[in-house]
Structure formats: structure tokens, C-alpha cells
């Protein structure tokens, strides 16, 4: 094979600490290399043209580019060599930027290391084979996991684009966190008034199948051909016939059920519909609180239901759906603030979370939109807001900024004044982070027009004093301690990854960070992609996000799905494992170790042999290191190729 080597300066990124001309000169001496040069920007148009011309002029059979990481430009250069008529796998990249020039200052040592890396690449390239992707047909349906505002947006955009959508929501209604909000910032418009119509659209869209109160049990397959097992949890109510009339809820005698929709401000009934605008508006029995399910006595709901929907014998059901792409929009949970002993650790009823306060402000909430202290039902006069609770705090393992608490706190301070004109709000803050369109103006309004007292400092202690709470903190601008007699304390609790995030990530085979937020394909350039083909992200599952950002991501994810489905067939990656049937002894070890279920046993003339299902294989290579015979080899990273690289590096 005649090989050409191109050593890139990357402007001064590489050239500053690597003598690229010397690397090219050294490369000319390697076996097989007939052409080597250094160029300013190999990825630029003239840089790529130089490669194409060199292939033609020197009749090259393969190309090595020594430049940046393959994650950056491998695809670019593969297309370049393809343009010149070579198979795109007859190309190798040596990373002399991230692995060399950016991490070392010694020019001589860097140059020597670069030479080594180029030698490894040429030795491997000599053993490369032309590989050809296979085409396969795809199922143009999409699964959206999570029915919050991001998931709703993604589902509607996909459905409007003509795709069939399966939307799976784990609670009994879609709407997510946004449905719990009273108003939205910075426009202070009614949250459920703007979200409600979208929720109705989901229910009525002919292309959307909604599974509420359902969870993802199992995900198999690969991009274009996923098979999803959905668990429809038992509701004990036949939803086909339930009209959502609510008579069962009115008559249910069990009044102490956990009201998760209202953030446990008060209680709900054991059979309940979470809120009047719920989609679907169907009742569900909470078995933990239903006396019929617990003790076999009661049965009131079954007696009063006009449609005869109650079924105490109902069991979980499983359905299988086939889709070609998945949008994950599983949202976030609130940080458990009770770890803060200084805020009372949950002992004081009048210390509540911002989301509980939001339910209290909502006209359809448990207090009918009246602000009342949970302890005695009195209207508060002094309301203290504490920001950054479980946000920007290393001591509780949450060093990141949730990003939207400054804004909703300003909104809640404004709403407090609207509800209770004689009240006084105080906000303890660290910094005001209001970096959105009309955001800073909004926080200014809270301070200047609504007379909110912003105190820059942390709260060290809250303790009861009579029927009030004494909030003690620092005013770091004044350099003093401050004490506020509060009637109600609202904690601006930060966001964390939703409870089941890591479990779902394992099923989706996508990665997540140490906090449980899902990792995007690239922090700048692939914000809604994941590193698993066909799986996309929308909303706060990727990191805390406010409503506009979540909606934007929902639409972005939908556009990625529509783009993917614009083709009828996809190309599979040929860098997969292949079995040398002559060497395979049919031991089946590879079948056991494959994490993707991509290897099956076949019968070959009466003998058991392993066989790789190419479209499922992800090219991880675990099977190749398991195989005692070396019979299963990962294409483009065979044992021989790896050993040749090792030899190239260890020859001296």
C-alpha cells in the first residue's frame, strides 16, 4: 500500500510545540510512505484538496492525517478520501493535538511522540481493509419518554411532521412540572392557560398514542428498529370507559392519600384525578390508601361509578411498541432540602418549597389561590425567600447552578405582593442570575416596583419564635447580621436529576454525568443528540432548564428525528465484530459477554457457531477479548492491527 501522510499545524495549536515539518520528514522514511507533508489547516478546503490531489498524483492506497482528535474530524477526512475514490476506511488519524501539543510544552519530546503516533497509524493503515456499510430499512415511529413540556413539544412537532408518536408518561397525567406552576416568568402569564391547549392537542392528535401511568420496562434493538416494552401500571379503573366525571373522588371516604400533584400541601382521596385539566382526565386508585384494596372493605367508588369502571382486580399490563427513534424528556426532580439542618430539616411546617408555594398561589391549587401558612392557615405578612437551596452548594454535593430559581423567586415575590398587598417579601440571594431575554428587567421590577427586599447573603439559621420563624443570615453588602421575623419561609429548591434517570439511561444505553443528568453528544455542537444513535434528549433530563429552553430542545429533538426519518434506509457502521467460522469452536462465551445481545448461535453443518447480527453490534470489542480462539474479530480494530501498533511503538 502506498501511503500519504499529512501533518497539520492547526494554526499554532500544534505547530507551536511540535515541529510538524520534522514529523513529515521522519514519516517519509517509514515503510510504505511515498508522500508526506505538513499543512497549515488540513481540514480547510485547500487542505482537503491537497489530499485529493496527492492521492491521484502518487496513486496512494491510504492516507494518514496527524492532527486533532478523531471525534473532531475523522468523518471530514473519511469523506475527503472517498471523494478521491478510496474506500473511506483506508484512512487513519493520529491525534497530535489533544494527545500531544496541548498537553506538553517540550517541543523536542512532543515532536518525537508525534513521530511515534504517526508510525503507529501507518502500521495500522497497512492492515486496513476496505469496509462497506450495509443498508437497512427503518421504522418511522418515534417514542417520546416523559410528558412534560419538553416531551409534549417533541411529540407534537414529530406528529405534525407526519410521524406516528408513542408518548409514555409515568404519572397519570401529562403536563409535568409546568402544569404545577401558577404563572411563568417573565411575562407572568398563566402557566396552565398556555400549557393546557398543548396538552389537549396531544390527546386529540391522530398521530399520538399516549400511555399515561406507564413506564419503560425494556428497550431492545438499535437506531431505526427499537423494540420497547411498556409497563402500563394498574390504575384499578378501566380507562376506556372512565369519563373523568369525578364522582368516585367526591364519594371516596379515604381522605388522607398522598397528594403528589399538589406537592403534599394537604391530602387527596385514595381514588383521584390529580387536577381538573389533567390529560387524560381519568381516575386512578392509590392502593396504599384504598381500604378496599388494603382490607377488602369499602367499595364505595365501584357503587357510585356511573360507567362501572372500577376494577379492584386490575394488574399491570405490558405492551410492546416498535419505533425507530427515541426522545428522552424525563425532566428533573427537586433537591431534598431536608438535609439542611439550619433550615429546620423539615421540622417547621411554615418552611416550604418553592413548588409548594406555587401550588398555593394557583387558583386550582389546594388553597384555592390563597396564601396560607400551613401551620395555622393564617395569611403571612413577612415572607422570606431563600435562594440556592441545593444549588451552588458543594457541601451538599450540588455545586452546579440550577439557573432558573432567581427568576421564579422574583416571580413569586411579585405574585406575593399581588395576592397580599400589605405583605413584605425578603429574598436572601448569592448572585442574581437573570441572563435571558427580559429576565434582568423582571428581577429589577421585583425589587423596584414590588418593593421586595433583596439581601445578598446566606441564611445561617431558622428557628421558631412564638408563632413566627426567626430567619438569621448575613448581609454581605452591609457586612452585618440580619434577622427577619418571618411568617412564611419559601426555599428556592434547586433541580436534580429525576429519581429514575440512571436506571432509564442503562436501558437506553446512554451516558449520564455524576449528578445523573444525561450527556449530550457534544456540549456545544450536539446539544440534543446522545452518543447512542437514534436516542435524543429534550428538556431538563440533560441539565436544569427553564420552560423556553426546554421547549426549544423539544423542537430541536423533533427536528433531529424528522431528519433521521427523511431517509428510508440507514447505513450500518461496518466497524463491527465478525466471526471466522473456521476458528470458532462454538463455546458461546461471546454470546454471554455481549452486552447488546448482538451474537447468536447458529447451526453450521451440524456444528454450533457464533454469528454476529451486524445491525445490533455496537463495535465495543468485548467479545474479541473473550474469545479463546481469536475467532471473533472487530473489523477495523483486529488483533493484528492492534499488535502492529504496539510493535510500531515498542520497536526501540
Amino acid at each position: 500500500m502506498k501511503i500519504g501522510v499529512f501533518v497539520c499545524h492547526c494554526g499554532s495549536n500544534i505547530e507551536a510545540t511540535v515541529d510538524t515539518a520534522a514529523v513529515a520528514a521522519a514519516a517519509r522514511e517509514f515503510p510504505g510512505v511515498v508522500f508526506a507533508t505538513d499543512t497549515m489547516y488540513t481540514c480547510s478546503e485547500p487542505g482537503q484538496d491537497e489530499i485529493v490531489e496527492a492521492i491521484k498524483e502518487h496513486n496512494l492506497g491510504g492516507v494518514v492525517v496527524a492532527s486533532c482528535t478523531p471525534r473532531m474530524h475523522e468523518q471530514t477526512f473519511r469523506r475527503t478520501v472517498e471523494r478521491a475514490g478510496l474506500n473511506k476506511y483506508l484512512f487513519e488519524m493520529a491525534n497530535i493535538r489533544e494527545h500531544v501539543s496541548w498537553i506538553g510544552k517540550d517541543r523536542e519530546a512532543n515532536t518525537n511522540k508525534s513521530v511515534d503516533l504517526v508510525r503507529m497509524a501507518t502500521e495500522k493503515l497497512m492492515r486496513n481493509r476496505a469496509l462497506h456499510p450495509k443498508k437497512f430499512t427503518i421504522n418511522k415511529r418515534v417514542l417520546v419518554i416523559g410528558g412534560g413540556v419538553a416531551g409534549i413539544q417533541a411529540a407534537l412537532d414529530c406528529a405534525d411532521g407526519g410521524l406516528e408518536v408513542v408518548l409514555v408518561e409515568k404519572t397519570t397525567t401529562i403536563g409535568g412540572k409546568m402544569a404545577k406552576l401558577d404563572k411563568t416568568f417573565p411575562t407572568v402569564d398563566c402557566s396552565s392557560c398556555i400549557l393546557g391547549p398543548r396538552m389537549v392537542d396531544v390527546a386529540q392528535h391522530p398521530n399520538i398514542t399516549l400511555y399515561a401511568y406507564a413506564e419503560i420496562e425494556e428497550i431492545n434493538g438499535y437506531v431505526g428498529n427499537f423494540e420497547i416494552k411498556v409497563k402500563k401500571k394498574a390504575t384499578y379503573v378501566d380507562w376506556k370507559n372512565c369519563t373523568g366525571c369525578g364522582i368516585c373522588m367526591d364519594k371516596c371516604p379515604s381522605k388522607k392519600a398522598r397528594d403528589t400533584f399538589n406537592e403534599e400541601i394537604g391530602f387527596t382521596k385514595a381514588i383521584n384525578i390529580p387536577f381538573p385539566q389533567a390529560i387524560p382526565k381519568k381516575a386512578k386508585i392509590d392502593p396504599e390508601f384504598c381500604t378496599m384494596l388494603k382490607k377488602g372493605k369499602c367499595g364505595v367508588c365501584a357503587k357510585v361509578c356511573p360507567s362501572g369502571c372500577i376494577d379492584y382486580e386490575m394488574k399491570d399490563e405490558f405492551v410492546t411498541e416498535k419505533v425507530g427513534a427515541i426522545v428522552t424528556a424525563t425532566g428533573f426532580d427537586l433537591f431534598d432540602w431536608t438535609v439542611y439542618g439550619e433550615y429546620g430539616g423539615g421540622r417547621y411546617p411554615d418552611v416550604i418549597t418553592s413548588l409548594q408555594y406555587e401550588r398555593m398561589l394557583s387558583a386550582s391549587g389546594p388553597t384555592g389561590g390563597h396564601i396560607k401558612r400551613p401551620s395555622d392557615g393564617k395569611e403571612p405578612k413577612n415572607v422570606v425567600f431563600i435562594q440556592c437551596v441545593g444549588s451552588r452548594d458543594k457541601s451538599v454535593g450540588r455545586p452546579y447552578c440550577t439557573g432558573f430559581c432567581c427568576m421564579y423567586t422574583a416571580k413569586q415575590a411579585i405574585l406575593t405582593k399581588d395576592h397580599l398587598p400589605l405583605s413584605q417579601s425578603y429574598v436572601f440571594y448569592m448572585d442574581i442570575r437573570a441572563t435571558g431575554k427580559l429576565y434582568d428587567e423582571f428581577t429589577r421590577r421585583a425589587m423596584e416596583e414590588y418593593d421586595t427586599n433583596y439581601i445578598r447573603g446566606r441564611v445561617s439559621m431558622i428557628y421558631p419564635k412564638g408563632d413566627k420563624l426567626l430567619v438569621r443570615g448575613a448581609d454581605t453588602l452591609m457586612g452585618t447580621q440580619v434577622e427577619v421575623d418571618a411568617d412564611l419561609v419559601v426555599l428556592a429548591v434547586g433541580a436534580e436529576a429525576s429519581a429514575g434517570a440512571s436506571g432509564l439511561a442503562e436501558k437506553l444505553r446512554i451516558s449520564y454525568d455524576s449528578y445523573g443528568f444525561y450527556m449530550e453528544g457534544h456540549p456545544k455542537l450536539k446539544p440534543v443528540e446522545t452518543n447512542t444513535a437514534g436516542v435524543y434528549l429534550a428538556g431538563a433530563c440533560q441539565g436544569p432548564k427553564d420552560i423556553p429552553s426546554s421547549v426549544a430542545q423539544g423542537s430541536a429533538a423533533a427536528s433531529k428525528v424528522l431528519g433521521l426519518f427523511s431517509k428510508d434506509q440507514l447505513e450500518s457502521d461496518p466497524q463491527v465484530s465478525m466471526v471466522d467460522i473456521k476458528r470458532c469452536i462454538g463455546c458461546g462465551k461471546c454470546i454471554q459477554t455481549c452486552p447488546f445481545g448482538a451474537i447468536k448461535e447458529i447451526d453450521f453443518r451440524g456444528m454450533a457457531k457464533a454469528d454476529v447480527i451486524e445491525t445490533i453490534c455496537q463495535g465495543c470489542g468485548i467479545c474479541t477479548s473473550t474469545c479463546p480462539q481469536g475467532a471473533i474479530q472487530l473489523q477495523h480494530a483486529t488483533d493484528n492491527q492492534i499488535l502492529s501498533e504496539v510493535n510500531a511503538l515498542c520497536q526501540f
Binding site: 439542618g341 430539616g345 421540622r347 419564635k465
Partner: protein, 301 residues
């Protein structure tokens, strides 16, 4: 009952003077509960506040010598009633893990000190090693009718990674013991607030304000008395209560007990053994009322 509990006992300087009743009651309670205490031979001052504010290595040398004395007793755990002593002993142990620091301190001592000693407070071993349920079983004179608040002070469980005992913001050890003794425990919201500590000497006004607030709050929540586990807290609240009343125009007359004194009472020990007469604010009226209340109950039954 668990008779295998055996500790080296480091009394600390206050125990020989201002908090002698804490020492007496701690020893009496441990004896009553069959917890064996052996005094650290030839112990010296832990360094207290003055030493560590001046020089860390000198301060640690003082504490390290005490720990080495424990090690020479063939014991590996030492208890002390005083949280300030405990903090110094623990800090020395922790700092000595650093080799450079250890060499510096050992240079100051006659011989290299073994500081690998587990140190705990009397309160901590009563709760963690002896167990509150076992204490409950040993109560012979329950503190029925006594309404008490538990005041821990700021250093008993702080800094948390060093002290490793109870909740740093909301400790419950003494609350739970008092409840087990039959007392009515009112949640004291300022249980980990500072009493003013040694500021009683250079800036008395600070103690007047801070300790005054503790007494005001205790009274407001209906406590008849406070229990403490720290000689300095006890001194500020008890001995200075009159000064506080003068400075703030208040009229407090609240007995401030060491928790070991009330524990001893419930175990049936005498007031004399527990040094009740050493308290500045007399608990006489309260103790009599409690005794009478108990008698009345017994008569009713």
C-alpha cells in the same frame, strides 16, 4: 448489663474547679452504670482556647502528651466530659496524622507521642456505647414533671467531620436521654447557638447578649431548666445569670444542670454525690417541686 465498658478518663482543668460538679456527677453516673473509668496518670492541660489561638504545634504538644499517657495505660480509648478538651484532643490527633507536623510536635516532647487514641465525650459513650434504652432500664426515680430544654453549645458536635457525633444542626443526644429519664423535653431552638464562650472575660457584653438570648428563649418555650454538657456554657448561663439579669433587665431564675446531674438523680444517686450544691442558681425549689410531684403521684397510685 454491659460491664465490659472500660475507658481512660481525662477530667480536664475545669473539672478541678469551676465544673467540679460535672466531674463528680460524671464519675458517679459511670460508677452507677458499671462503666469503669481510670484516670489518665499525670495528665496536663489540653491547651484550651489560649494555646490553639497562639500556636498550633504547642497546643497539640499539650494534647498529644495526654494521648500518649493514655496509650501508656494500655488503653486505646479515652473519654472526657468537656467538649473543649475533646476538641483539642481530637484536633491534635488529626493534625498529628501529617508527618511534618508530627515531627515538629514530637520535637517538643520528651518522647514521640502515640496519638492514635479514640477520644469521645462522656455523653457520646453513654448514647453510643451504653445505649439510651439501657439507661431507661436503670432509672429508679423518673424525672416526672420536670420540663427541661437541652442546650448543646456550638462545639460539642462541630466541626462535624472532626467530632463525628450526632447532628451538627439538630443534635438529639441529651434530648433523648432526658426523655428516657421521664422528663418532659421542650425542643430548644437555639440548642447549638454560641453562649459567648470565653468572651466573658474580654467582652462581657457579648456573653450578656448571647447567653441572655438563650435564657429568654428557654423561658419563652416553657423550660424550667436547661441541661448542658459543657463547663463553659454552664458557667455563662449559671454563674453569670445574675450579671445577665442586671445587664438586660431580665429576671431569670433558671437552674442550669449538667446532664449527668439529672441522669444521676434519676439513677437514684444523692444530691450531694452529684454536686447539686455547687450550682449558682439554686435548683432547690425545682428539685423539691419535682420530689413532691413524684410523691403525689405515688400516693395517687
Amino acid at each position: 448489663m454491659n460491664t465490659s465498658l472500660n475507658y481512660a478518663y481525662y477530667p480536664g482543668c475545669s473539672s478541678t474547679g469551676t465544673s467540679i460538679e460535672y466531674d463528680m456527677s460524671s464519675r458517679a453516673v459511670c460508677a452507677a452504670l458499671d462503666i469503669k473509668l481510670t484516670d489518665v496518670p499525670d495528665w496536663n492541660c489540653c491547651g484550651s482556647t489560649p494555646a490553639h489561638t497562639v500556636d498550633h504545634s504547642l497546643s497539640s504538644a499539650l494534647s498529644a502528651r495526654n494521648l500518649d499517657q493514655v496509650s501508656s495505660m494500655g488503653l486505646d480509648s479515652c473519654i472526657t466530659p468537656c467538649p473543649s478538651c475533646l476538641a483539642n484532643l481530637k484536633t491534635a490527633s488529626h493534625r498529628m496524622e501529617d508527618k511534618a507536623f508530627r515531627d515538629k510536635v514530637n520535637n517538643l516532647l520528651e518522647k514521640p507521642a502515640n496519638t492514635n487514641i479514640s477520644t469521645k465525650s462522656v455523653l457520646q459513650i453513654l448514647v453510643e456505647d451504653y445505649g439510651i434504652e439501657n439507661i431507661r432500664k436503670r432509672v429508679v426515680k423518673p424525672l416526672n414533671g420536670l420540663v427541661v430544654g437541652a442546650y448543646y453549645g456550638c462545639i460539642l458536635n462541630r466541626p462535624p467531620h472532626l467530632m463525628q457525633f450526632d447532628d451538627r444542626e439538630h443534635p438529639m443526644a441529651m434530648d433523648n436521654i432526658m426523655e428516657a429519664l421521664g422528663a418532659t423535653v421542650v425542643p430548644f431552638p437555639l440548642k447549638v447557638e454560641c453562649c459567648g464562650a470565653s468572651f466573658g472575660i474580654p467582652r462581657k457584653d457579648v456573653v450578656m447578649r448571647l447567653s441572655g438570648k438563650l435564657l429568654d428563649t428557654a423561658e419563652a418555650i416553657g423550660a424550667q431548666a436547661l441541661v448542658t454538657a459543657c463547663p463553659l456554657c454552664q458557667m455563662n448561663l449559671d454563674m453569670r445569670q445574675n450579671q445577665i439579669n442586671h445587664a438586660n433587665g431580665s429576671h431569670h431564675n433558671m437552674p442550669i444542670f449538667y446532664f449527668t446531674q439529672l441522669l444521676g438523680l434519676a439513677l437514684g444517686l444523692t444530691e450531694k454525690e452529684l454536686g447539686m450544691n455547687k450550682l449558682c442558681v439554686s435548683p432547690r425549689t425545682l428539685l423539691d417541686a419535682m420530689a413532691n410531684g413524684e410523691n403525689l403521684k405515688e400516693k395517687a397510685a
